[in-house]
Symmetry: C2
Subunit: 126 residues, 2 copies
Amino acid sequence: MERIPILRMGKFLLITIQVDMHDTTALALQDDLMAKIARSGARGVLIDISALDVVDSYIGRMIADISMMSKLLHARTVLVGMRPAVAITLVELGLSLRGVKTALDVEKGMELLAAALEDGDAADQD
Amino acid sequence: MERIPILRMGKFLLITIQVDMHDTTALALQDDLMAKIARSGARGVLIDISALDVVDSYIGRMIADISMMSKLLHARTVLVGMRPAVAITLVELGLSLRGVKTALDVEKGMELLAAALEDGDAADQD
């Protein structure tokens, strides 16, 4: 079975999705990611989909699920690298990825996460 | 044809290899990477192979080639995430990846690149 690698970069975790996700790969990714968040105390997750030509409803739901699960473990998720054509198709399919934050590329996603963390930490102190 | 995404992170580029590389994928990766180094002026390349169970002589040579090509464009390459079993097999196969720097994970690879850049820049000024 293929496993998608999860890379640690400072306080964040990075996942690049390059292959079509099937049931087992997607479930394994969720398991691996949650275990890694719990173990590392990571506060943010970046999911890069720049390699994907197509994002169907299955992958869309998987990403939304990961975002919600991560939130329960106190980590924020940002989806990065979406191709323009994918954005068009998603909306045409009626999938709006509600609740999932996006950024154009990994660098901008990291900035977004860092800013969100600062805001969040400030709010926590209130 | 599958294309392997190249992610920009500050001064460095990150590639995660998740699939078996064939001729066309490997050549496309080399082309894409050299174009991206030239365009971005990146000074370092991280190649993550933590998803690979097997590294054969073809992938080994491809990585060594990328390392040499990047060097010609003034960028250093670090191979990260190699599994212990892969290291054992590589040596048993007689492949020592000569000239390729390695690090245990992406974070350590970034530190290595950053340190190498500082040394290099200091040497450039001499």
